[in-house]
């Protein structure tokens, strides 16, 4: 099916965003953000896919074999690294929020500040 990967992208993005909006726990919310970001991997790899082509690695393979786009794959790698960095920072903030306010429920956190 031609559009299947793009349907998967929309689904992953949608459930991730729904999770962020309805979350009652900061760690759960951070994991939902990871899910949202995962949709971009599928999108990037889907955009660069070439039917019937090999991965862009030419070890033991003739150089002129058709291969998928290596640029989006490199971008996906960047994406993963940034996600790891963002997640680490957010988890650190969650630890401090719990210490400061004694709760990890985003909806209670809003009330406390107000």
């Amino acid at each position: 099916m031609q559009v299947f990967p793009f349907v998967v992208v929309a689904w992953i993005l949608g459930v991730g965003l729904y999770g962020i909006v309805t979350s009652r726990h900061l760690v759960h919310q951070i994991i939902c953000l990871i899910v949202v970001q995962s949709s971009t991997y599928v999108l990037l790899l889907g955009v660069g896919y070439v039917t019937g082509a090999i991965a862009p690695y030419f070890f033991d393979v003739p150089v002129h074999t058709p291969a998928v786009d290596p640029v989006v794959q490199a971008l996906a790698l960047t994406d993963v690294v940034v996600e790891a960095a963002v997640t680490a920072l957010l988890l650190a903030f969650a630890v401090q929020a719990h210490k400061r306010f004694g709760t990890l429920d985003p909806q209670e956190l809003v009330q406390l500040r107000g």
Binding site: Q2, V21, V63, V71
Partner: protein, 253 residues
């Protein structure tokens, strides 16, 4: 805003997003019909130009090398940020790990978990080293290898040896190793400038056999430094978070 209002605002936003997504999708060439030309051009010339058979690594550490410096420093800054956010606040002090409920004995880590973790540590460190040093050949490189290397250290914690984990990865040394990794990448780039070339020009001999460990010049070297940086950054992040749960307590609450 009540949860119900929030959900309606979310649904309205999602409807707009879905419309734009479908509009954008209609303009795409369809799965498998990647129009190029950049990916195809790089696939054609990368092996000849860099002697690296892993074109993704060639893109990351050569063609987009400047971006990757920034990417590496994102991780560097994140690790620094975690250490800053989780610093000792006023009224917090270290205390040695002890059981929370004195009348209940915490069961030791089971022998099965401990043996598996200890048996896996060596092979995982070797695997991480292999990945970090073969960016030019195969789908690997410093980022992947670094994470696997860090996993080897974290397994020691999983084996129930928290104090051993702290001893083999002291924060000061991990910090220094991370700085060497991040600085090494930048130093390779600047060395090229000193030689009168552009920043991050591949100035090392490219070797003879494409994909050999000795091939691809600075790509392999940069990948090595990235591996060191990533491993140190992850160990730092994990040990900062573990310190929070195991060592640091507030004076009174």
């Amino acid at each position: 805003m009540t949860p119900r209002q929030r959900l309606w605002a979310f649904l309205a936003g999602m409807a707009g997003l879905a419309a734009f997504y479908l509009w954008g999708l209609a303009g795409l060439p369809g799965l498998g019909n990647y129009p190029g030309p950049y990916g195809f051009i790089i696939n054609q010339i990368a092996v000849r130009q860099t002697n690296a058979t892993g074109v993704v690594s060639a893109v990351n550490f050569e063609y987009r090398g400047f971006d990757t410096v920034g990417e590496e420093f994102i991780l560097f800054v994140a690790a620094t940020g975690v250490a800053t956010v989780l610093r000792h606040l006023r009224g917090e002090r270290d205390r040695p790990p002890r059981d929370e409920a004195a009348d209940r004995r915490v069961p030791d880590t089971s022998e099965a978990v401990r043996m598996t973790a200890l048996i896996l540590t060596g092979p995982i460190l070797l695997m991480g080293w292999y990945l970090a040093s073969h960016a030019q050949t195969s789908p690997s490189g410093g980022f992947q290898g670094g994470v696997v290397l860090a996993t080897g250290f974290i397994l020691v914690y999983l084996a129930g040896l928290f104090l051993a984990f702290e001893r083999i990865s002291p924060v000061d040394i991990t910090d220094a190793v991370e700085a060497v990794g991040a600085g090494g990448f930048a130093a390779i780039g600047i060395s090229a400038v000193v030689m009168g070339l552009a920043f991050l020009t591949n100035f090392l001999p490219l070797g003879i056999t494409p994909g050999a460990v000795s091939s691809s010049g600075t790509i392999a070297l940069i990948s090595f430094f990235v591996g060191v940086e990533v491993a140190a950054a992850f160990i730092l992040i994990v040990s900062e978070l573990l310190d929070q749960t195991l060592l640091i307590r507030q004076e009174s609450r």
